[in-house]
């Protein structure tokens, strides 16, 4: 049983979610230093490195394939997510969101990219953290607004394409629905067209698109 909204109950049109997660994968999975992230996130709180009300750092590195190290803000969570056994950085919008579906998606993508850029910058030098720029995972942890259904998948992908066009231009992207059938709607995005993008270029594109 689940409290997820059944497909036949949903209207055709999605509403804008309060909660959505976006994840970038770390390039060198083996070299990723979890303990270092605790120090980095504590420093970010000291330095007000990211916008929002930054509350605390929480360590879940003892949980296999868990949320890793969390930076908790009132408005969002940032985690060194290890779901599926592949480490990445996930930004999850939690509350205080506004705007249309695509505006919220754009905001979440831009926020993730800025956090990732900050992490690359802060770890530059010894054992730098670098991110894969041609893949992202989108997780809609708001079943009321975006149920985990095929219909929702069909409706949300054009919205994501609009957002991603601001990052990758005309390069085509493809989406694969991943994760558990009763989990939140989760999409793995890959750029299938030609081209290379730095994180800085993506940040710039995302911010321009988000206005």
């Amino acid at each position: 049983m689940s409290t997820q909204v059944a497909p036949d109950v949903r209207s055709r049109v999605l509403s804008a979610p309060q909660r959505v997660g976006v994840k970038l994968f770390v390039e060198d999975q083996e070299a990723f230093d979890r303990a270092r992230m605790i120090e980095v996130f504590h420093r970010w709180i000291q330095e007000d490195r990211l916008p929002g009300t930054l509350v605390d750092v929480h360590d879940y590195t003892h949980v296999q394939e868990g949320p890793g190290v969390l930076l908790i803000a009132h408005e969002w969570h940032l985690r060194t997510d290890e779901a599926g056994g592949r480490i990445g950085l996930e930004y999850e919008m939690k509350r205080e969101a506004s705007g249309t579906l695509s505006e919220r998606l754009g905001e979440a993508v831009a926020s993730l990219l800025e956090a990732a850029a900050a992490l690359e910058q802060d770890t530059a030098g010894d054992n730098p953290v670098r991110f894969v720029t041609r893949e992202m995972v989108f997780r809609f942890t708001d079943r009321l607004a975006v149920p985990a259904t095929d219909a929702a998948f069909e409706e949300v992908t054009p919205e994501l394409e609009k957002v991603l066009a601001g990052l990758y231009g005309d390069a085509p992207v493809e989406f694969e629905r991943v994760g558990h059938a009763r989990g939140p709607l989760t999409l793995h995005m890959r750029v299938v067209g030609e081209g290379e993008w730095t994180l800085e270029e993506l940040v710039s594109g995302a911010r321009s698109a988000a206005g």
């Binding site: 409290t3 049109v13 916008p51 509350v55 750092v57 003892h62 939140p184």
Partner: protein, 770 residues
């Protein structure tokens, strides 16, 4: 980053009208009418509080009774390692309790009687944890589940979604009857007298929201155990507890309980007192009702620190308490519910999903499978079936994992899943022939770690991670110790692999350190002019026999040295044990003095400039402090008279423990009292130079200079610890005859008084530092 402050429901992707109570609208018909009404009422209370129509105190108790709890930093202040900073939330002026900000993330406790879980419940728990919390479900030592970082305004929907699968958060917190726990093996256990599950369920149902159980000064925690010897139920550390018993009456075998009251951990642990050697099953509910009524009528209401049932039982004495309860019982109006449940107690709460087949699974002999079979699989009383333990590190499991486990449960066991008091999960009714396939399925979920109920399966309370009362990082230490001991792996002697380590972040014992073979609880010490996180090392506790005895602290060791201290303790045991001597017997034989000597050099703290790691908690790079830290140029080399005095008082406490071990209870109580006087005099002398050693003068000076102005008061416990001194001083004057339990209690109270003295010293030293 999305911080605009608009009503989030006013705009959506399609421009459609908002649905402000959508979950209610969608799930309302699937909720029971009563629960639906209760949650609506709570939602209304949230609105009333927002509108300023409820006081902080009243609303706090309301939300606590719905399982909505505070969390660290919810006063809007956090020390970031450099300075104390204000957390600026959108609703900065709004509060949800005294000194508790509206927007500050909080904890929700979910109450699952006797830790039972169904597959459907696991699915919904996964949903709510990933939507409203941080994606982690935390299993507690009382078979509850806690979600952290939850916003108050999202709790009604969270409750509705849980309600659809029969879960309530009602009375999971607050001054109420809390979750009724029971051994996770009950019904399938090889040593049980009978299955206590239906009795635990009956007590839980009967007392939930019962009018006679609403006026308590503090919480009441019940527990049941199917047998006396094993630790799964931990009856003797609970307010109310029953151990299954049968007795032949007029040639007929009757069921009942060896029934206990007044146990509890907390700052001053009490072993429960025997209320009745055999409480017949039909008397279980009425006696619980009468205990509730007596406790509500006579229990302490004003002084929170003395308000648990254990204090009432101790104050009245078990004979008088029993007399009052039986007198009340005689006057109760008959209630059909008292016995209605007895018709079904022989049916069993769960059963096999699959029948046994003759064909056995051929197990693939991988080392992983062998290790898992050795530690995580136990025999059921029903032939052909096994109980499989699933290790959850520090009680944590992800939303994805528990959703996957729901599938695994549906495939192998159905709804026969329980949470355990050691923060793991137990799958019951697993066919022996399914073990290999189950192991494979658990491996896919990263849940096949074979360390359940072993040395490296460490229990820890939330500590400084999320608890407002945490002093040291219990989870940080637990993570470090788990890794440390796991690294040693094969070199660890077989005899230590079954020992239990339990850690609390403060004296309140949520990590159950008193009952561990090796326990730790967090304290702070002023060293070299800085605050240094320490842990008291507690030895001599007994996990078996339903928490048969409690350990005592022997010495405070800096947090950084706890792994080394643990190594030494277990090696000492390996080297010096006699025959098959158990750990508790070993500790008793060698004596705490030798163990203290063993650890003595580890109590040293290097200078700050030499090793800064000593000045931080494990897993937290911030310098450990309770406020802005500062230190004079020479402070690192100076040990103040106060530190000398407090250390002297701690040595006295240790002597008192030795006396207790030797059976000299009056001597132990006297020395503990003397230790309190040394600590009181040490602090009072700062205010009254020339203060002598006369106990009357010391107590008077302490009262005048430190207690009455509120200086000694603990930020959370108020005057609780100071009052220990006054009471003990009075008892001393009036003549005090120490029993074993009273001597132990006095030592515990003296220890806490000295801890409070340390805390006072830390606070005042910080105030004068620049």
């Amino acid at each position: 980053m999305g911080v605009e402050q608009q009503n989030p429901m006013t705009t959506n992707g399609s421009g459609q009208a908002p649905e402000p109570r959508a979950w209610k609208a969608r799930l309302g018909s699937r909720l029971g009418e009563k629960l639906s009404r209760e949650i609506d009422s709570f939602e209304g209370q949230i609105e009333q509080k927002r509108a300023g129509k409820l006081t902080d105190e009243v609303f706090a108790e309301m939300r606590l009774r719905r399982g909505v709890y505070g969390q660290r930093y919810d006063n809007g202040q956090r020390h970031d390692g450099v300075s104390s900073r204000e957390l600026v939330f959108p609703n900065a002026e709004l509060t949800k309790g005294p000194g508790t900000l509206w927007d500050a993330p909080g904890m929700v406790r979910i109450k699952n009687p006797f830790g039972a879980l169904t597959a459907d419940q696991m699915d919904v728990l996964a949903e709510v944890s990933e939507e409203y919390a941080d994606g982690i479900l935390h299993v507690t030592t009382r078979q509850d589940i806690q979600l952290h970082f939850v916003h108050l305004e999202e709790t009604p929907d969270l409750m509705r979604r849980l309600g659809v699968v029969g879960i309530t958060t009602h009375e999971a917190c607050g001054n109420a009857v809390r979750n009724v726990t029971a051994c996770h093996l009950s019904g399938v256990c090889t040593t049980q007298t009978f299955d206590v599950t239906p009795y635990a369920a009956a007590v839980s149902d009967f007392l939930l929201g019962h009018p006679d159980a609403q006026e308590f000064g503090r919480k009441v925690k019940p527990a049941f155990s199917g047998c006396a010897d094993r630790p799964c139920g931990l009856v003797k550390m609970h307010d109310i507890g029953g151990i299954a018993r049968v007795r032949e009456v007029d040639g007929v075998e009757r069921r009942g309980f060896e029934f206990y009251v007044g146990g509890g951990l907390g700052a001053v642990p009490h072993q429960a007192e025997l209320f009745d050697e055999f409480l017949p099953e039909e008397e279980l509910l009425p006696i619980c009702q009468s205990i509730s009524r007596v406790f509500a009528r006579l229990g302490e209401k004003d002084v929170r620190s003395r308000a648990r049932l254990k204090f009432l039982v101790a104050k009245l004495g078990i004979e008088e308490f029993r007399r009052l309860v039986l007198e009340d019982r005689a006057g109760l109006t008959e209630d059909s519910r008292w016995t209605a449940f007895l018709d079904d107690v022989h049916k069993g709460h769960d059963g096999p999903l699959w029948q046994i087949e003759k064909k056995r699974d051929k197990l693939t002999p991988s080392p992983q499978l062998e290790a898992w079979l050795g530690t995580s699989v136990t025999q059921q009383r029903q032939p052909g079936y096994k109980v499989v333990m699933i290790y959850l590190p520090l009680g944590d499991i992800t939303a994805d994992q528990i959703r996957g486990l729901a599938d695994v449960a549906r495939r192998f066991t159905g709804d026969a899943v329980r949470m355990t008091v050691e923060q793991n999960l137990a799958f019951r009714w697993v066919r022996e022939s399914d073990l290999s396939a189950l192991h494979e399925a658990l491996e896919e979920l990263a849940l096949a770690d074979p360390r359940a109920e072993t040395l490296t399966d460490i229990t820890a309370c939330p500590g400084t991670d999320t608890c407002k009362l945490g002093i040291s990082s219990s989870r940080g230490l637990a993570r470090t110790l788990m890794d440390h001991l796991e690294t040693r792996g094969e070199e660890l002697d077989e005899v230590v692999r079954g020992l239990r380590i339990k850690i609390s972040g403060c004296f309140n014992s949520c990590g159950q350190h008193h009952m561990a073979d090796i326990g730790f609880w967090g304290v702070s010490r002023k060293r070299n002019g800085y605050n240094v996180p320490h842990f008291q090392v507690v030895l001599g506790g007994q996990w078996a026999e339903n928490a048969g005895s409690y350990g005592l602290a022997i010495v405070a060791v800096p947090g950084r040295n706890i792994p080394a201290a643990t190594d030494r303790i277990i090696q000492y045991y390996v080297d010096e044990r006699e025959g098959d001597e158990g750990f508790k017997a070993f500790v008793t034989r060698v004596g705490k003095a030798s163990l203290r000597t063993l650890l003595q050099d580890l109590t040293e703290v290097p200078a700050y400039e030499q090793d800064r790691s000593f000045y931080s908690n494990w897993g937290d790079p911030r310098e450990f402090t309770l406020g802005d830290m500062g230190v004079g140029e020479c402070a690192g080399q100076i040990v103040s008279p106060v530190e000398f005095g407090l250390q002297a008082s701690e040595r006295e406490i240790f002597s008192a423990q030795d006396r207790l071990d030797q059976g000299d209870f009056n001597g132990a109580a006297d020395i503990a009292y003397g230790a309190m006087l040394i600590a009181a005099r040490t602090l009072a002398r700062e205010k009254e130079i020339g203060l002598g050693e006369d106990p009357e003068a010391v107590v008077a000076a302490f009262k005048t200079h430190l207690f009455d102005p509120g200086l000694f008061h603990d930020p959370f416990a108020g005057g609780k610890f100071g009052n220990y001194l006054f009471r003990v001083h009075r008892e001393r004057k009036n003549g005090f005859e120490a029993t074993p339990s009273r001597a132990r209690q006095r030592i515990e109270e003296a220890q806490l008084f000295i801890e409070a003295a340390h805390s006072y010293h830390v606070r005042t030293a910080e105030t004068v530092s620049v």
